[in-house]
């Protein structure tokens, strides 16, 4: 699975996710990527989220929407909300994987609880960074 989240100069947020799914998945099986509120979510007032991981668990725990709800209703920061969902909701329930998220101030959170992830960030005035397995 691959994904991107962005904040533009007008303050708009957006998310995009795309995947081939799980290796050797049964035909017809759909994971979290195309389920809005699970693997993909965006709202200008809150955050944008793209997830990659054990789809069934991301769907059942509505990962993207849960991160937004924690920010919107519990006043958590992006980092607190994203980390809590990935480490406290998903991981204990066999939800291996991670998310990338950005909020309307341009903060980026990228927690993951599995062995490996490929990630990259770029921000106005900063050099792009890429991370592998870190």
């Amino acid at each position: 699975t691959v994904g991107a989240v962005a904040l533009d100069l007008s303050g708009n947020l957006a998310a995009a996710t795309s995947t081939g799914g799980m290796t050797a998945k049964p035909p017809g099986r759909v994971g979290d990527s195309p389920v809005i509120g699970a693997g993909t979510f965006a709202d200008n007032a809150i955050c944008a989220v793209s997830g990659t991981g054990h789809g069934e668990i991301f769907i059942r725990w509505t990962a993207g929407a849960e991160i937004a709800a924690r920010i919107r209703h519990a006043g958590q920061t992006l980092e607190q909300a994203a980390t809590a969902v990935v480490m406290e909701d998903l991981m204990p329930n066999d939800g291996s994987g991670g998310v990338i998220a950005v909020d309307r101030a341009g903060n980026i959170a990228m927690p993951f609880n599995c062995e490996g992830m490929y990630r990259g960030t770029a921000r106005r005035g900063e050099a792009p960074q890429t991370f592998i397995y870190r």
Binding site: V2, D8, S18, T23, G53, C114
Partner: protein, 175 residues
């Protein structure tokens, strides 16, 4: 008044390619690919473009890059087929578009954008493919989407299942 900024983050799951199998050459290839992806998204944001166009541009590069599990280089189902899913969501008005279980369009994220501009939110299978064809999006065949590592990963996973060996690698449960 704080200066408005732009920001972009991209990711790809490592799937079944375990850290032990990563070579310096592969690592360099992934870093170079991720930089190309970031450049595609930044180019939109730097020019004052929309976030929804930036994330679409970034994911198109990820889908065209065989190293990642999306578009070209997607994993295989247990039937040896490729069935792709994609979604976009625009934070301005929560417009959203998603496709599931499609094969043929080179860039499933572009098909998701077409759905976002339709009355639907999620479209699966043949009707989504027809939408892409009617819009003139580029298509690929099995050869285009095929990569050796993904085909090998399918054989390995099927062999594990056939031998009744429990798959202990959590990465085998996600993309």
């Amino acid at each position: 008044m704080t200066k408005q900024t732009w920001a972009l983050a991209v990711h790809g799951g490592a799937g079944t390619i375990l850290r032990a199998k990563m070579t310096p050459e592969k690592e360099a290839a992934y870093h170079a690919a991720l930089r190309r992806v970031l450049e595609a998204g930044q180019a939109v944001l730097r020019d004052g473009g929309l976030a929804i166009d930036a994330v679409t541009a970034a994911v198109v590069v990820l889908e065209d890059e065989p190293l990642f599990n999306a578009g070209r280089g997607a994993v295989y189902t247990s039937a040896g087929e490729q069935e792709m899913d994609a979604a976009v969501m625009d934070g301005r008005d929560r417009q959203a578009g998603a496709v599931a279980g499609i094969f043929g369009p080179r860039n499933p994220i572009r098909v998701a954008r077409l759905v976002m501009d339709s009355p639907q939110v999620l479209l699966t299978g043949a009707p989504a493919v027809d939408l892409a064809r009617a819009a003139g999006l580029p298509f690929g065949d099995r050869d285009y989407f095929f990569t050796e590592p993904r085909w090998t990963a399918l054989q390995e996973t099927m062999a594990l299942r056939a031998s009744g060996t429990a798959e202990t690698d959590p990465a085998r449960r996600h993309g």
